[in-house]
Each structure stands twice: as structure tokens, then as C-alpha cells.
Amino acid sequence: MIEIPELAFGGLAAGTVSALALGSGLWRSRRERARLRQEMTGLRHQAERSARAGAEEAERIRQAFTAELEHLAARRMPAEASRTAHPHVPVPGPVGPEGAATEPVLEALRTAVLQERKRVDAAARAGMRGTTREIQASLYRLQDILHGLQQRYDEPELAQDLYSLDHENEQSLRRAQVAAVVCGAWVGLAREESHLVDAVTGGQARLSGYRRVKLHNHLDPGTALVSHAVEPVAIIAAELLDNALRHSSPDTSVVVNLEHVHNGVAVTVDDAGVGMAPDERAAAQRVVAGTDPIMFSDLGDPPRMGLAAIGQLTRQFDLSVDLSTPSPYGGVRAVLLVDKHLLSHVDPALRPAAASTSPSTRTGEVPRPEPLAEHAGHTHAPAPQPVAGGSREADTHQPVSGTTEPVSGTTEPVSGTTEPAPGPARPEPAAGELPRRRRRQVSPDQAAMIRPSAAEAAAPARSPEETAAALGALQSATAAARDAARPEGTPPR
């Protein structure tokens, strides 16, 4: 019987224990929930705070970016666009650090503007090139006509007008040609190998102030340019001279010197003008060097084409022009250097330089053409003359006789202002022969003028010169005889 209460007690105890346990668990879980709830509200607050801060930040960034874009559109892009034409224009930087992202925009803009500029420039040059080429061709045709007229008509008044027209035409031609060259065209004229002094003088003739140019030719006779360099050198010389003439006073002269240098020939143009400031000179030197491509739109209005054309030609033809030193005359010194590989040699005997070009100051050895020696034999000169000797030397070898000079003594001009140099002694004529007016022994380069070609050996026995000399001698003899018959003091004719 005792087992029942024990059982009940045990049951009760177990119930109490479990109730206790359950109660404490319940209490714990309730506390946990409260803590969680608290934590949640904390987190929610935190999240709300940060969300608010984030929105503010986003708004700030948005505003900064808008400002950056406005700055880009209003300031930086126009500056960048104008900087392609004017490199000195400063491009403002971004407002804030956010602007770093706009750099590629500017980069792309720069490329696009530059390409467009090149395209427009090329189009303008192409149009100009086509026009100037046609003008140039028609001016050459006009020149041909004018030269024909000059040959045909020699009436002074008409000739004067023809000269003026020719000169005007040369100047127009120069301008058209320079414009064409700046536009990337070929110089427009093929020439044969020519004397360098011809090319420079030809350039001189294309200017209105050509009378002010004093050319000193210190080159060996026959120094020439290869055919493709002739016209470029003429153009460069014309432009350098034009600058010199334009920037110096009309009563000063522009001095040109042609000299041999180690690497070729130097053409030095000195003017006594106002000169250039160092930065101007540096800018001109850059243009003339021809390293930068020419932009038509950089040349200004009216376009200054001279230096640009020089730059174009120096690049194309491997010439070099230096403007970096001031002239000792106070103005600008321009030096055109023609390299050796552009030089050649033209026989001055076969093809003398143009009559208007300054004669060379060098009296170097010129190979004497064969027929001359033969000719010397005709005129009773000792045949085996040393070739190097000039006319005087040759004559001093001859027997001296003062008696046989009737001609030079009597046909002197009445003016008497210029004392003719004492004539070389004449040889005694052979017995039974009239005193003859002899051809003077000529120096090689003079001979070149008179007796041009070695190929003339096969010419008829009596050349026109000989005939002229013979007839001239006869005439002078007649004149001398008549004069002798007159009373002393009567002026001849």
C-alpha cells in the first residue's frame, strides 16, 4: 500500500521540476525576444541614418557632376577647340576630382576637330591649287607671246611697253606659283640644267624692286644646278629677296653673295632693313625649316605665303634656308644652302650664263676649246701658247712693234673721257702685206662668248667672225687712210 504515495510524491516532484524548468525557459526566451527587438530597432535606426546620408552624398555627387559638365561644355570644350588653331590658348582644368572622367571627352574632341580642320584645309588647298595651276599655265603662255613680241619689235616705245608687261607678268607668275607651291603643287615648270647665277638672277627679276639687288657672284664659272632644283632655287631666291626688299628702306640695297662652301653653294641675302625680333626670327625659322605641315588657315589674312612656300620647297628638295642670324647690315641675313648633290656643271663655253647675270669674280681655269688654238694660229700668234695665259700674256710673247697700230690710234672716240687701256703690241706684218687690224687674243671665257663650240671644227673655213674681222679691218684701214689725209685736229667723222 505504501507504493501509491511514493508514486504520487515522485510524480509531484517530477512535475515541479519540469514546471520549474519550463518556467525558466519561458522567461529566458522572453528576455531574448526583448533583446532582439531592441537590436532590431537599433539597426533600423542605423539603416535609416545611413540611407539618408547616402542620398545626400548622391545628391552632392550629382550636383558636382552637373557642374563639371557645365564647365566642360561652357569653358573647356571651346577652349580646346580654339586651341587647335591657336596653341597658346590655355584649356582650364576640371573643377573637382570628379572631372577626371571628362578627359577622354576632350581627347576625342581634340582628335575630331583636328581631323576636320585638316579636311577643310586640304579641300581649300585643293581648290586653290587647281585655280593657281591654271593661272600659272596661262601666264606662261602670255610670257611666250611677250617674248615673241620682244624679239619681233624693237621700236623703243613699243619695247618699253613690252618690258613693262613682261615684268608685270613675271610678278603675277611669281605669286601664282608661290600660291600653288604652298597648296602642295609642283613648281609647275621643268627646266634644264642651268647656271646657279641664272636661277638667282631669274628670281631677282620677278620682283618689283629688282634694281635694288646687288649680286656678287663668287662662284666658279659653270657652277650649275641640276634640272629639278633650278626652279625651286629661283623661287626661294625670289621670296628671300622679296622679304629683304619689303623690309628695308627703298634707298638701301639688298646684297646677294654666291659663294662656294664645303657642302655646296651658299646664297646669302643681306638687307639693311629693320630686322626681326628674336621670337619673330625663331617663328620664321620654324616655317622656313619646313618641318611642320603647312596649314592654309595659319597663314593669316592676307596670307603670308613666301616663307611657307620656302618651307615647302626646302622639305621637298632637300635645300636648307637659315634665318637665324641677324645681318651685319642691321637687317636680316638669309642663307640658302644648296647641297652638293643638287649642283652640277655646265660648260660656260658651250652655254654661257645669261648676259644680264653678274660675271664671276673668279677667273679660274676654264678648259679652252680646241678651235681657239687653231684660231690663234690664223692670227699669227705663236701657236703653242700656254693655255693658262690670259690675253695680255699671250701678247707679250709677240715681237713688240709700236708702229703698226694705226687703227686704235685714230678711231678713238672724240669724247676722250675714258683713256683706253694701252693696246697690246701688234706683230710686224709680213712684207708686202697691208697693216692689218688683228683680232685680239681673247681670254678663254671671252672666247667662250665668241666661239662657243668645239664642234665647230667642221664649220666652213671662214667663220662669220673671221669675215667680220676681215671686213672690219678693211673698213678701219679705209677710215684710217681718210683720216690721215685730213688736216691734223679734225675729229674723225
Partner: protein, 119 residues
């Protein structure tokens, strides 16, 4: 023969006379004969006058001949020759009209006479 120069001349004619086409004297004709009276030393002459004087070194030339030799128009040579005549460096003789040209026989007789004088 002189190798004929092809192509257009580099140096125009007006440069030879500095643009002057009116000679200082009008006596020169195409066939006037120019003769140099100066020695081989020329002073400070313009280049083209110098060239003309040089071309006369070997004897006399008519105006047209000098023009052909110097490759200049006759008008330019006239100006150059007139300038040289003014300076007394060149004399000019007018061309002989055909009718006034001496008889060949007469010349021969004159030559004979001169020879006889000399001997």
C-alpha cells in the same frame, strides 16, 4: 653650232637694261656696226653692258649679231650699246647703204696703192 637652248629663258630681257627700252641715242640701227674701243679692263659696268663689251672683244659686230650672241632682244642691245657709246667704250658705224657700198675693183686698187705706198 651653238647648242640651241630650249625652254624659256630664266632671266628676262628687261633685267639687262634695268627695264629701260629707250636708248639714250637714236642713231643705232639693226645693222649698225659696233666696235669696242676699250681695253680689256672694264670698270664697274652693269653686267649686261660688260657682256656686250666682251662680245665685241674679238672684233666688230652688228647690233643684231650682238643680240643673237647675247640672246637678248635687239631693243635691249640698242640700249646697252647706246650706254657704252655714251661712255666712249664703243663706237658705232651706221650701216652702209647698198648703193654706197664701194666697188670691189676700187677697193682692190686702193689696196694696191697702199701696198705701193708702204714699199
Amino acid at each position: 653650232m651653238r647648242s640651241h637652248r630650249s625652254g624659256r629663258p630664266l632671266v628676262p630681257a628687261y633685267l639687262s637694261t634695268s627695264g629701260v627700252a629707250r636708248p639714250s641715242r637714236n642713231s643705232l640701227e639693226r645693222l649698225s656696226v659696233l666696235t669696242s674701243t676699250a681695253g680689256p679692263v672694264f670698270g664697274d659696268l652693269p653686267a649686261a653692258q660688260h657682256a656686250l663689251l666682251q662680245s665685241l672683244e674679238g672684233g666688230s659686230l652688228t647690233v643684231v649679231e650682238a643680240a643673237a650672241l647675247l640672246r637678248l632682244p635687239v631693243s635691249a642691245v640698242r640700249v646697252l650699246a647706246a650706254a657704252l657709246i655714251d661712255q666712249g667704250l664703243v663706237t658705232a658705224r651706221p650701216p652702209v647703204p647698198p648703193a654706197a657700198q664701194p666697188d670691189h675693183d676700187l677697193l682692190k686698187r686702193v689696196a694696191d696703192g697702199l701696198r705701193a705706198l708702204k714699199l
